[in-house]
Symmetry: C2
């Protein structure tokens, strides 16, 4: 027999839920035997002075969750339920304090981060207008799961655009859209898993390094000379996959000259198992010259895999990147990933389509190029004026960051601690070096300095803070 | 000596680009020797009768791309460039025709797909209002890369919501947001890589099966009895990771009763290396009962990993899913993925935050529950009226699909071909079975029937088409 205790005074406690909970707990705590018959709905309703509906709802819920069973014309019975093995006496483990996230207020901070883009000039109004157009024209698609590579019309628009701006030769079929370069590289590399030896630039992009390491690839860091990755080191370590950033080496800024490009393509052509992954992460921004044609545009053997992103040219928060696969890899990809759902938000992808088609992408990049060029010049001038002979800037007029070397006896740990005190977000080259081969001089440090976020009126103050940090 | 040919009649061809191209091609085609001196800017400008600026821009671009070098006060010289090894005579491989995507018009089609959600009642106006609020309040964040697990405030909102609706016990720290369940499962499983043996439901969710297979896991399909996964098969095949859908088994619809839940939790508790992944993909929709508490809510040993998605309750095109990790796995995750960028569009995530906080998520789910319940009833009634004794529907009032068995001598291949002719999108259970253990009767077929997309006024016609397909 189950004793049911109902509180009718609190209207927030539904009667049926109270009945449900009382039975549920009694059954779980084994206060009632299996196969015991429950009171009939009418009897219980009378006994508790509640509506038969409340009892009915409670029994329905108990039935749905499997606490009771019913036999037609006989009534409701308690289900046979295995006893819980409870290993922890308290039944609860407190959440470990080392996993609690700590928050640091960014109030009063200035940033020379290379990871951001300037949102102050983002044409939200235009973007939202195109978004409305996307919603209006693609209702059906938005309720469905799109193609595993992303909607065809968006891939077509991207393929046209990169043919025009980067000389990339590809069909929309070859493009795979994803929520960032990292997941795309991960998908790509899962196709190349067998016995792959991967080479990356050193210093280079640490997030790609992290993906490759997490996949347990053998990763060889390759030193840079003034033209880019050292071709002799590549030949001697003999990788089959090479990750490079020829348009604007990250983080040193080197634009790879044509001679090294041909050397690398020649290196690849010696075996059809070799691939070069060209990460064209910020090629949109060149100051003083036209865009530099992509490496992919010169590849005649389908051995260059091209990756691009809208994180720099639009905003990183959109999470829209893409990869262009050569036909043979595409064929493998389609076998592996036919059941994969592409990871980018479809609203943004379709909005992007109209944004590009309407000419606003090109206009935005042009406008941002002028804006970034101006900020870049101001920042470099302020740095030179302030640090005088103690700074050397690798001045490549491209991208959203540059590398600067400072004469100082400070070590990186001190620099980071002081930067924290001065409230200046900076990143040193340490973060992007992968073995002991890369070395700064004894008395100098190198910083990757981004100028996308900093406001023109903050440049002077940011450089003063930097001076106090480094001196 | 380089012969330069300029076309001044076509204003679309910039002079500087023509000069640049002529030099570039001459150098690549080795018509000019390395270290040969280029004409001075002034001389070339005079000779071609163009402005010195045009020559200057052309030389600048050639310099940036590394075709030429300059010596101060001496002029410009041709760079030494390695010769191209060209393996393919034509220099171009035609795009293989088998990789060309084919398009089938969906004009006139009706859909009983389980993969969609109903967009006709999506509150776009509200969503866009909250989006404006997100843009206004989070400008700075939108220009940056967010936390590797997604913005804290969004995780906090989700953790509160699933505590309330699903009884899930977790801190915002334990939530990882991603662009779909697939990439999240992939990240999770990369942490459990060593010697993991994975068990899945059979029939079950084929997209998860695909992820596990692509990662080369040993995957054991487990048969279902009327309570869900067969506990004896689990014990005998002894996996350490078990993927299940207890709230509404996909695709059979079974709601796992409390007794099986406790059996599974007991099974897990025998070793701290065992985990159960609870995929709660459509638990928002229950017709006639309250929500069924999640398995995670009963787990006292931190062995249940909970995953949820907004693909069913909102729209699949948002690509917003999340996973809740127990503390020990979270610690490992943070080590592996500190350098990872979360893959969901930040605009949608922050909009979702306000959408939930403003109460509109709850309102939308309530409204859709009524709407789906009505469509579900109509569809079932029409099916019963039309197929009479030749149909058996597994009528579990939950989710956005149900399983139906039809008496017929037709085979699946014929059914699919006829469905194509009748223009009806349907999915048979074949798609979701993973070995030969699952068998239909000789004279019956099973279809997974979704009712999210179909309009009420189309139901009758869809069922008639189905009748013509199956009879």
């Amino acid at each position: 027999m189950i004793f049911i205790n109902i509180d009718k005074t609190d209207p927030s406690k539904h009667i049926y839920q109270q009945i449900y909970k009382e039975f549920k707990n009694s059954i779980l705590e084994r206060k009632v035997a299996e196969n015991e018959k429950l009171p009939s709905k009418r009897n219980l309703a009378d006994q508790l002075k509640v509506s038969i509906n409340s009892v009915s709802n409670a029994y329905g819920q108990l039935l749905a969750e499997g606490y009771i069973y019913t036999i037609e014309r006989k009534g409701y019975f308690v289900e046979k339920i295995t006893e819980f093995i409870d290993q922890h006496e308290t039944g609860a483990i407190n959440f470990p304090s080392d996993l609690k996230e700590k928050f640091q207020s960014k109030e009063g901070w200035l940033s020379l981060s290379h990871m951001t883009s300037d949102i102050s000039m983002f044409p939200f109004k235009k973007w939202l207008m195109y978004q409305n157009q996307a919603i209006k024209n693609h209702k059906q698609e938005l309720s469905e799961i799109s193609s595993p590579q992303g909607p065809y019309i968006v891939r077509k628009t991207i393929s046209r655009m990169i043919a025009f701006t980067r000389g990339v030769k590809c069909e929309p079929e070859q493009i795979i859209i994803g929520g960032g370069t990292q997941p795309l590289v991960r998908q790509l590399m899962s196709l190349l898993k067998e016995n792959a030896k991967v080479a990356i630039e050193n210093p280079g992009y640490s997030r790609i390094h992290a993906v490759l390491k997490s996949m347990k690839f053998e990763v060889v860091p390759i030193s840079l000379d003034k033209k880019g990755v050292d071709i002799k080191e590549i030949e001697s370590s003999s990788p089959n996959i090479l990750f490079i950033t020829p348009s604007h080496q990250f983080p040193t800024g080197t634009i790879m000259p044509i001679s090294r490009r041909i050397e690398l393509l020649n290196w690849a052509s010696h075996s059809n198992k070799r691939y070069i992954v060209e990460d064209d992460y910020d090629s949109e921004f060149k100051y003083g010259t036209d865009n530099i044609p992509s490496l992919q545009s010169m590849d005649r053997n389908h051995q260059v895999i091209y990756t691009g992103t809208f994180s720099k040219s639009l905003l990183p928060s959109f999470r829209i990147s893409y990869i262009v696969l050569p036909p043979d890899l595409l064929r493998t990809y389609k076998q592996y990933y036919s059941n994969w759902i592409q990871g980018s938000n479809l609203f943004s992808l379709l909005t992007l389509h109209y944004f590009i088609e309407g000419g606003d992408y090109e206009r935005h990049v042009k406008r941002m190029t002028l804006h970034y060029e101006m900020k870049r010049k101001m920042l470099i001038k302020q740095l030179l004026t302030t640090f005088k002979d103690d700074i050397h800037i690798k001045d490549v007029p491209a991208g959203l960051h540059f590398l600067a070397h400072f004469k100082t006896s400070q070590k990186y740990d001190d620099i980071n601690e002081r930067a924290n005190r001065e409230k200046l977000e900076i990143y040193s080259i340490e973060r992007f070096t992968f073995d002991s081969k890369y070395k700064d001089d004894e008395n100098s440090i190198s910083l990757v300095i981004g100028f996308a976020t900093i406001k023109t009126e903050e440049i002077r103050e940011a450089v003063y803070r930097l001076y106090r940090i480094i001196k």
